[in-house]
Point group: C2
Chain length 227, copies 2
């Protein structure tokens, strides 16, 4: 059995759950709160981040190692989630990184820290009420990303081309965190909303819709396919 140490609201873990689900790879989910810095977890990943995948004596620590493992083990009868051909693969990788670095840095990481993690850590470790300046800045940054998603889907089925790819899984994973918090202004971009509706309707997305964080219910429309 392959296990995934994950935190439900971590966007990288969600990207992996979507990728693995689409490849029909089963993962046993083990919840880990990375900010607790458990000694046993630091043995698996000295950098202390989720996701970490464990299969017998293989430990893949961090998003790059886990995503690489998932791709290395893809069923040979399914198309690669990185796409086919140089052009498509370059575009998938560029856009996956766009969401995993730019969107993460500008939106999902600061919102996750301010609105979620600060609730669960001690005041000495930076816990407490969210810094509303940081929250407002991050919320402002969502809009141009929605516009970019909308523009990309104008002449493509999915973000990086005509097939669904890790770019879609990364984008949806990061946005789904913001959506859990109820902070995505969906009404402002119909095309981006239509893309999200399509990916949210996939069976693999259901596992994310069932995620619950104690004391932090999801936004009213988080589980609705018609939001």
């Amino acid at each position: 059995m392959t296990s995934l140490y994950h935190y439900p609201l971590d966007p990288f873990c969600r990207r992996i759950r979507l990728s693995a689900g689409e490849y029909k790879q089963e993962l046993e989910l083990i919840e880990e709160k990375p900010w607790q810095a458990r000694a046993e977890f630091l043995q698996l990943n000295p950098i202390g981040a989720v996701p970490v995948l464990v299969n017998d004596d293989v430990v893949a620590a961090g998003i790059e190692a886990v995503a690489g493992y998932i791709e290395d083990h893809r069923p040979q009868d399914m198309p690669s989630q990185i796409g086919n051909g140089d052009k498509e693969r370059a575009e998938v990788r560029r856009l996956t990184s766009w969401f995993d670095t730019k969107f993460h840095h500008e939106v999902s990481a600061p919102l996750l820290v301010e609105k979620v993690i600060r609730r669960f850590v001690s005041p000495e470790a930076g816990g407490g009420a969210p810094n509303m300046n940081v929250v407002r800045q991050s919320l402002d940054m969502i809009r141009p990303h929605l516009e970019y998603i909308g523009a990309l889907t104008e002449d493509r089925n999915w973000l990086a081309g005509n097939e669904i790819s890790t770019a879609d899984f990364a984008a949806a994973a990061h946005l789904s965190i913001v959506d859990y918090l109820g902070d995505v202004p969906w009404s402002e971009n119909e095309k981006a909303k239509a893309w999200y509706q399509r990916i949210k309707s996939r069976p693999t997305f259901r596992t994310l819709l069932g995620d619950k964080v104690t004391g932090m219910p999801a936004s009213r429309t988080y589980v609705d396919l018609d939001f």
Copy 2:
């Protein structure tokens, strides 16, 4: 002909030059100063970062896309730089990311900004004298990374295992920037120094040793193999 838009002191471009060199892939180097945000360059990569690889109608923009392209085109008679087998590949990817994210964030990115880029941009864009607090903090962070490199090579030939890998190229690329600036305290860790000496002696490293930045000569020992 495959072209690489690069900046000589950018660690991600250096990682690609090492990887491509070891795979015997020729790249025509085109110098790009990403902070100038040239319109033609932003057409190639809207995020504005180097490296960008161009081959006919293929544009691979950003480190993930370029590294993926190089790996996808590796000569089939050479071993993969990501290693063989799940364990080794997980370790290569974990450590490549260690240097490309952690070391970059803590050391090479702030030093590059403070000591190099601020010289070349206008005061309105943040140019001027380096912020010495930031410089000092970054320099302090080098030591634990050298210790980690030293510890990794205690029972391995190279950082991630017995074969040279992208983990070595990433680590050497980032450290080589700091070395160009003369800021690596090599004498403090003999094992890390011995590892760097070995990678610096490889023919593919020579192209990096010839890099020159106008008005910023390399440190006295930057080109010496016996430093």
